[in-house]
């Protein structure tokens, strides 16, 4: 491989910015300087699709209407555990306006006998059993109500701790495997190990397994904190529910879907219906939120396709709000035991973690890697167990596992600091080796005015103020299967094409920025056509991988296209193409200032009507920590919380959050702030409000709606100030990373620490409700 040596900006401006030399492939574009010296990157560029959104013109999957389209509704179980003895569809079939009914049946492999019965066993309330397509949604609903399902009910278990008991009803009496979009993405949860409903443990991650000797570590400790923390199940509740419109043409299956992963949905549908990938096209232009739960075609995708096949018409199938809560994902619960030991000087000597969590009928209820890697500690071990219950399956939820893990770890570190008689922020300076979090602590503490913090519970009056801090880390994941096509048309138009989708984070806009910067054009000159699997494969929008994966090939493809264009200009001017550049829409020459040509004019020199260049994600400059795309470094954050606790009513109000974050080279400040706000608000919600409430006697979720599933509305939104720390690590042609996951990790822990600081009593369980505050204060029993 031909290489070249280049000097890159390295470090944090205003702190330790320097340079590093990297040997990189010769075809990589030249080094971008720090953001200060760029025109479009790192600026407050307005979202290129905002106009469509504010005028109501943006078309989401749920808004689709195709000629002849039918509306579908799913049939779902209303018991938590049962064998289906029969399903009677005769009345539904005869209802005027009904075009197709499809029931989910066990399909044994060819040559195998079906020993499992006609229909799959019911394992939770809301499990999909079938679907109806009709001329209107109302008719489809009527038809569903006319279907009679006969169940032979089995004992079931909803409560996690009850499910762990010997003799509890068994959810699965067979080994099960984790879904790819299960609760704790990036970890392998082995469903074949374990006993009864308790599966696992998972003891390692891609950062390795246990290290050192815990017994020795705790023997060396002068101070030990040993606690159990509990977190609830919460559901994603995206405003647009899961769903699809399937238009199965003779030679092409068109799938419009609200997804975080067009490529994955395409692959699933192709595999399920035994079609070549070339004959399935998945499109997602706008989508109304996912937060981790929308990576798959689920059961609704194949259902709509089956109904489309049976009816010969396009089928619209969007779930309703209740179905969304019951069956389309949740963040698993956790019960985490943590034991942390430290010497009197604060040095950590041992961290032991043991967790149980339930992702219902799914696996992936781990607590992540945060205890393993946030602080250096020579002795560490974790055991993370999944507990199966008769409830809807978990799914990835913004920083899966790690939000639960941070809630435990960051409270334990706070408690340890107090035992060591150290300020919790200074204590983190002592045990945290991350340079970026050091800067975040400094800048955050200054903006937040951490020096106001008083000893725990020392406030006077009924309403007590408290200040707390929490930290997080998130790996820099890169999906190497990330490709982009750049087209320069001979009328000056520039187009970006990839299957990567914009889930509301602003992906379309950052791609336009990257291309505009590289081509010396304005953002408005770039048309971004993404979210379509007919274009080169892009990454799924999860794990904060998109920016780090797709912006480097976008820049590289634009760079290649530019080279080809400049070669044509150089030929015309009889000069060396290396002397040419494009700036402000003009091609110019480094030394001969007389030579000028507009970009549009230059595109007329093309022999064909377009230049088309496709690039894929190169390996990180300097290589990966793990070859599949685990980059070096972390996305660190430090969040500060200020709360008011009314000690008479138990009411907690979050007054302010200061959120200091890093994401490599920031691309779009406004969009980054938006995502930080979102992560923080979801963290406030997790800490204080939302909770999936299950009726243990029936297995039904009792708050499967918006009015009783409490999340923050405007009156509960705290003041949020964000600090975005630029950090250069010279790893790719953009050196940029995402921020979606990190923004959500530390908030609940920071709030719990602030509540402790306010009232002087620790709360080990979320959501922190008025009742838990009053119980902590011994005001109610």
């Amino acid at each position: 491989m031909n290489t070249k040596k280049e000097k890159f900006p390295y470090g944090i401006p205003g702190h330790n910015l320097g340079e590093i030399e990297r040997e990189i492939p010769i075809e990589e574009p030249p080094v971008w300087p720090v953001n200060d010296k760029l025109k479009v990157i790192g600026k407050r560029v307005t979202r290129i699709d905002a106009l469509d959104k504010v005028t109501g013109k943006a078309k989401y999957t749920s808004d689709m209407k195709l000629p002849g389209m039918l509306y579908a509704k799913m049939l779902r179980s209303n018991v938590p555990h049962a064998v289906i003895t029969s399903i009677d569809i005769s009345k539904a079939k005869n209802l005027t306006g009904v075009h197709a009914i499809h029931l989910i049946e066990n399909s044994p492999k060819e040559g195998e006998e079906n020993t499992k019965g006609k229909y799959p066993m019911v394992k939770y309330v809301g499990q999909p059993l079938g679907g109806v397509a009709a001329e209107s949604l109302e008719i489809a609903k009527d038809a569903i109500a006319l279907i009679k399902v006969n169940y032979e009910e089995k004992p079931f278990v909803i409560d996690m701790e009850a499910a762990m008991e010997i003799g509890a009803p068994i959810v699965f009496d067979e080994p099960i495997t984790q879904q790819e979009d299960g609760g704790d993405v990036g970890e392998v949860h082995d469903g074949s190990k374990g006993q009864g409903n308790v599966r696992g443990p998972s003891t390692s991650s891609f950062f390795g397994g246990p290290r050192g000797d815990l017994e020795k570590g705790f023997a060396e400790a002068d101070v030990v904190v040993e606690r159990t923390y509990r977190t609830q199940v919460h559901t994603h509740m995206p405003l647009e529910t899961h769903g699809v419109v399937v238009d199965w043409k003779p030679d092409l299956m068109m799938v419009y879907t609200s997804t975080q992963n067009t490529n994955n949905v395409r692959n699933e549908m192709a595999s399920i219906f035994n079609l070549p990938k070339s004959k399935v096209r998945v499109v997602c232009d706008f989508m109304g939120g996912g937060f981790g739960a929308k990576h798959s075609a689920g059961s609704f995708g194949p259902m709509a396709a089956n109904l489309a096949k049976k009816s010969g018409r396009p089928v619209w199938l969007m779930l309703d709000r209740q179905e969304e809560h019951l069956a389309e994902g949740n963040r698993p619960s956790s019960k985490q035991y943590l034991k942390i030991g430290a010497k009197n000087d604060g040095t950590l000597t041992g961290i032991q973690q043991r967790s149980h969590g339930t992702a219902g009928v799914g696996l992936g209820a781990g607590v992540g890697r945060i205890a393993q890697i946030l602080y250096s500690c020579p002795n560490f071990a974790t055991e993370q167990y999944d507990v199966l219950t008769n409830a809807g399956p978990g799914a990835a939820w913004r920083a899966p596992g790690n939000v639960q893990g941070a809630f435990g770890l960051e409270q334990a570190i706070d408690e340890l600091a107090e035992k060591l008689k150290m300020d919790p922020l200074s204590y983190r300076d002592h045990i945290d080796k991350s340079e970026v979090r050091k800067v975040e602590r400094q800048r955050g503490a200054a903006l937040f005015d951490w020096s106001r913090r008083q000893p725990a519970g020392s406030g006077k009056g009924v309403v007590k103020k408290g200040l707390g801090v929490g930290q997080s880390t998130w790996p820099r994941f890169v999906t190497l299967d990330s490709s982009v096509e750049i087209k320069i048309h001979n009328d000056g138009g520039v187009e970006v094409r990839s299957s990567v989708q914009d889930i509301g984070t602003g992906t379309k806009t950052i791609l336009a920025q990257v291309v505009a910067e590289e081509l010396g054009l304005q953002v408005k000159d770039i048309k971004v056509n993404i979210g379509d699997t007919f274009f080169p494969v892009g990454p799924g929008s999860g794990g904060s991988v998109v920016t780090g994966s797709i912006t480097p090939p976008t820049r590289n493809a634009a760079f290649e296209a530019k080279k080809e264009l400049l070669n044509l200009v150089a030929k015309k001017w009889e000069t060396d193409a290396a002397e040419l550049f494009i700036s402000d829409g003009q091609v110019g020459h480094n030394t001969d200032t007389e030579l000028k040509m507009s970009f549009k004019e230059a595109t007329k020199l093309m022999r064909t009507s377009q230049i088309s260049k496709t690039a894929s994600r190169s390996d990180d400059y300097g290589g990966f920590q793990q070859p599949w795309g685990l980059a070096y470094g972390d996305l660190g954050s430090v969040q500060f919380a200020e709360v008011s606790v009314n000690t008479n009513t138990g009411f907690v109000k979050v007054d302010k959050i200061v959120a200091a974050h890093s994401c490599g080279r920031p691309l779009n400040i406004g969009q980054l702030e938006s995502q930080i706000n979102g992560g923080v608000i979801q963290g406030v919600s997790y800490a204080l409000y939302e909770n999936r409430v299950m009726d243990k006697s029936t297995g039904h979720m009792v708050n499967a709606n918006v009015d009783q599933y409490k999340v923050p509305f405007s009156m509960e939104i705290p003041e949020i100030e964000s600090i975005i720390v630029e950090e250069y690590s010279a790893r790719s042609s953009t050196d940029a990373y995402g921020i979606g996951e990190p923004a959500n990790i530390a908030t609940a822990a920071a709030i719990a620490n602030a509540v402790y600081n306010a009232i002087g009593v620790r709360i080990y369980e979320i959501p922190i409700t008025p009742s838990s505050i009053l119980k902590a204060l011994n005001k109610v029993s």
């Binding site: 905002a50 749920s62 989508m287 938006s674 939104i717």
Partner: protein
């Protein structure tokens, strides 16, 4: 559903379904106004007085939306939200909770915000509907829309039409506003992406530009 006979012979069914009845009943004031002032809905009053029953089959009604009188064929159980989205293809109005708890379906009825998912389309009568598609006038955005773009007050964008409707109504009725006013105006608007801080900022900025 109560109408078990609907499939075999829709004509035998005597009334609208319980669900749509409850929805209509939720706006009984508007309903009684309808009976006296509706000039569009096919002489509804006279026909009702003559003992005619309506539904469950579709009927043609007229409704004024964004200044245009639209004719649409709807079943009596149709909500205003569904009529706008499914019949008039005005899909900017979103259905999120379908029970009046999230304001994503906010439209104006004679200039006042209502949850269109909680209203029967038959209760609209001759009142004028304004949807998100009718906020920009002659291609010119409302200052709130401009400010939403400038301050990045959208993420996934699904709550955005409802948010814009709430904030535009606030500014159209009061230009001297503070943060608390914006919070109160949007207190029923669910946003899951957490766009609220930028919505507040945008609306305050728009109010400065309109005064």
């Amino acid at each position: 559903m109560e109408d078990k006979n609907q499939g075999s012979d829709p004509k035998k069914t005597k009334s609208i379904t319980r669900r749509s009845f409850l929805r209509g009943a939720g706006l009984s004031t508007a309903g009684s106004v309808l009976l006296t002032t509706n000039t569009f809905a096919l002489d509804y009053k006279e026909q009702l007085a003559a003992g005619k029953e309506f539904g469950p089959e579709a009927m043609t009604i007229k409704m004024k939306v964004n200044g245009i009188t639209e004719s649409l064929s709807v079943e009596p159980r149709t909500t205003l939200a569904s009529a706008l989205r499914d019949h008039l293809e005005l899909t900017g109005t979103k259905i999120v909770c379908d029970r009046g708890s999230c304001s994503a379906c906010t439209v104006y009825l004679d200039g006042k915000p209502v949850n269109s998912c909680m209203m029967s389309v038959f209760d609209v009568g001759d009142k004028e509907i304004t949807t998100i598609e009718g906020i920009a006038q002659n291609g010119k955005l409302h200052p709130v829309q401009e400010a939403f773009i400038e301050h990045d007050a959208t993420q996934c964008g699904y709550c955005t039409p409802g948010m814009v409707m709430s904030c535009v109504h606030l500014l159209d009725t009061n230009t001297d506003i503070n943060l608390e006013d914006v919070k109160k105006a949007t207190r029923g608007n669910l946003c899951r992406c957490g766009t609220h801080p930028h919505v507040f900022k945008a609306t305050l900025s728009a109010s400065k530009k309109t005064t």
